[in-house]
């Protein structure tokens, strides 16, 4: 069998829709095209029934109640609603402080920046060298004015898993709401809103082999979290999110969640095996560094920096692999990754960082091809690189005083 190129290794950016999910969506579009808010006929009722089944499927995956699931257009919107919604609702009770991490996704950071314009105070906490939150610092940063802490479960660029249970426990102790962006975690690692004391969770469809344009927000009912909606209109989704709920997209997210519920452990065994093989092969090339903690991570995301190779030449050299440097949302701008910067990775290494993603459809054959290609190209690029020569001679690159000419 010949391999289809490029090999898709950008599963954090988006995933192909699972064929079973596509079939479901097509079926809904063909047969059940009602508006789920139509109260006067069976097309509406059937569409509503489909929406409610999906709500249960999503809830089940995180051990939530279906009434705690609200459909949105995606994780970006969910993050906006969660952070701005809570901050603005509790503004009146003298709470104007928000805590988040420097390594959060852009949509969390920018929602916080937006709130700063409205007079809120935001602490962007630095992370440890391994990308994990410093729990002592987090505890110290909580003030009586803190309304919400937003910390992502799995980082999109480097794949590290934050200690959710510990964060949740701390938040509960201090009476602060805990929001977590689970775009990269939902359906990939076990999540339990009860065990982890999660109050709000953002969920995405297209990161778990579901469709784009759909996501969800989990909002805890007991004890109740209240939200000031950022959307007005028909009052759908119990006033949290107005607008027609898109039946076929919701059905797709629901089924993708159900498949993840049933197949997550098998998927993870396979992905972990491929990931380990890839990790071993790449680190054997020497001077290749994994960014983020080696153990507290989702195996399907490995972000490496290649020393002794110049900037973008690596991405160009491995065109047969669809990969990304940093997150897709910022990669087209080619600015150095703020996440790696927060980890203290120096600029040269940050510039040669590449994220390799593995997913449900990654095969061992593809991994073998990728390993082989990378090994060849790294060797070739290093042979051409004066930086590599200097490194071999033991010159500390940082000690060189580069001259412009």
């Amino acid at each position: 069998m010949t391999l289809k190129l490029p090999i898709y290794m950008d599963y954090q950016s988006t995933t192909p829709i699972d064929p079973r999910v596509i079939d479901k969506m097509i079926e809904v579009m063909k047969n059940d095209y009602g508006n789920p808010h139509s109260r006067s006929h069976s097309f509406g009722w059937k569409a509503e029934e489909i929406v409610e089944i999906a709500r249960r499927q999503v809830a089940k995956l995180i051990n939530a109640d279906e009434k705690e699931i609200f459909f949105t257009s995606g994780a970006t919107e969910s993050n906006n609603i969660a952070i701005k919604g809570v901050a603005k609702f509790y503004e009146n009770s003298q709470k104007n402080h928000i805590i988040t991490l420097e390594t959060e996704h852009k949509c969390v950071i920018n929602s916080c920046r937006d709130l700063e314009q409205d007079g809120f105070v935001v602490s962007y906490l630095p992370v440890q060298k391994n990308g994990l939150v410093d729990l002592n610092l987090l505890e110290k940063s909580i003030t009586p004015q803190t309304s919400i802490i937003s910390i992502m479960s799995v980082n999109n660029e480097i794949g590290v898993i934050q200690p959710l249970e510990e964060i949740g426990k701390l938040c509960r102790q201090k009476g602060v709401f805990f929001h977590t962006d689970c775009a990269q975690a939902f359906g990939k690692i076990p999540l339990d809103v009860e065990k982890m004391n999660i109050d709000l969770m953002s969920i995405s469809g297209h990161k778990i082999y579901g469709p784009k344009g759909i996501g969800a927000l989990y909002i805890r009912r007991k004890p109740r979290v209240r939200i000031k909606s950022i959307f007005s209109g028909g009052g759908q989704e119990r006033g949290i999110r107005s607008g027609t709920v898109p039946t076929q997209l919701v059905a797709g997210l629901g089924l993708a969640s159900e498949i993840a519920f049933n197949e997550m452990s098998q998927d993870n065994i396979r992905i972990t095996k491929l990931s380990k093989k890839f990790y071993d092969a790449l680190t054997a090339l020497t001077h290749v560094y994994l960014n983020g903690d080696k153990d507290h991570r989702y195996a399907g995301n490995l972000n490496f920096s290649f020393a002794g190779i110049e900037g973008e030449s690596m991405i160009m050299a491995i065109k047969d692999l669809a990969v990304s440097s940093g997150s897709a949302c910022t990669s087209s701008s080619l600015e150095p990754s703020y996440v790696l910067h927060a980890l203290g990775v120096d600029d040269e290494l940050a510039h040669t960082s590449i994220r390799f993603g593995f997913g449900r459809f990654t095969t061992e054959e593809e991994i073998d091809f990728a390993i082989d290609l990378i090994a060849k190209k790294v060797t070739k690029l290093r042979e051409m690189s004066p930086l590599w020569d200097m490194m071999q001679e033991g010159i500390d690159l940082k000690s060189i005083n580069w001259k412009s000419h």
Binding site: S13, K212, S232, G235, G239, S242, T244, C329
Partner: protein, 375 residues
Amino acid sequence: MTNLNKIFLDYNSTTPVDETIIAKIHEIAKLPLNSSAIHSLGRYANTLIDESKLQITQLLNAYNYEIIFTSGATEATNTVFFGNNFDDIIISSIEHASVYNCRPQNSKISEIKCKQNGVINIEDFIKKIPQHKNFLVSTMLCNNETGVIQPAEEIAQITHQNLGLFHCDAVQALGKIPVDLEKINPDFVAISAHKINGPQGIGALLYRKGLDFRPLIFGGKQQKSKRAGSLNITGIVGFGQACFIAKQKLKDFSKIAKLRDYLEEQLQIIAQSNIIFLGNETTRLANTCLYSIRNLSNQTQLINFDLNNICVSAGSSCSSGVISQSRVLQAMGIENDFLDGAIRVSLSPQTSKSEIDYFIKIFSEFYNRAKINKK
């Protein structure tokens, strides 16, 4: 519960997705397309997005407008209302819930009255214009319940003369009547795909090039930083294709009027002076019939239609679940006897005469049976 053998006459609430669009969605859904990615799949995604924008542009003559994709028209309208700190927002009393309920805290909202024929009252609008310049006017191009076509061009002109901005909810007009943005000249336009045989969950905000506003959803730099979030590629492609098809079939749409008028004639013969047709004295969408029966609640009618496999609605489906009196009917100043009895029948170019005849038959049986205070 199955939808087989049902007669769907609620096309203003949503429409089935066109078969060719489903096929197209099927084809591209298999690919992991994120338009922000730097590899070839990312570039392919961008090609598809540009094609869709062109199809929308061509349908609306929107060459002087930027297009940002949203999750639907509700989000598009919210973006406009919350995107600038307007001191005043002027809406009409017959707006769809997505506009009517969109009320930023710091803006003073006023409502333009509507005339008995269902048309927004321009004289009343002029009275409501504030002295200052920081105001937004938001009215619809076609009403979702009556189908009445509104004087958007005139409203835009008056708004601009007074240096305000004009937002037009064109959801019901799109694909049903020719919409020329150069002629109407709005500053913002909200549209939705699922009303024109495109998929649910995708809409767009069009805004005149050069205008600026604060985004509603923050995050990555997608869509010129005006709307963060990975783009819904299947939705976008489906929307573009729906606009393309709608442009080809625009002439067919006006032909539905013949069947709609036949329906109204027959209902009139049956119910005589106990039935009224809302907005039938002025220009309205060819597919829409909103009637009301004296002293016969819409709930009773809906139950009967449902028992007979007919799908219609009592005005808009987007109110949060309760079937109640229509705000639009109240705004039109309809006499009390008729306020509870309104039913909207909305047709598509595929609606057949036999379906309409069946509707008339069921209506007739029920009407003649109903113990109501007829005149």
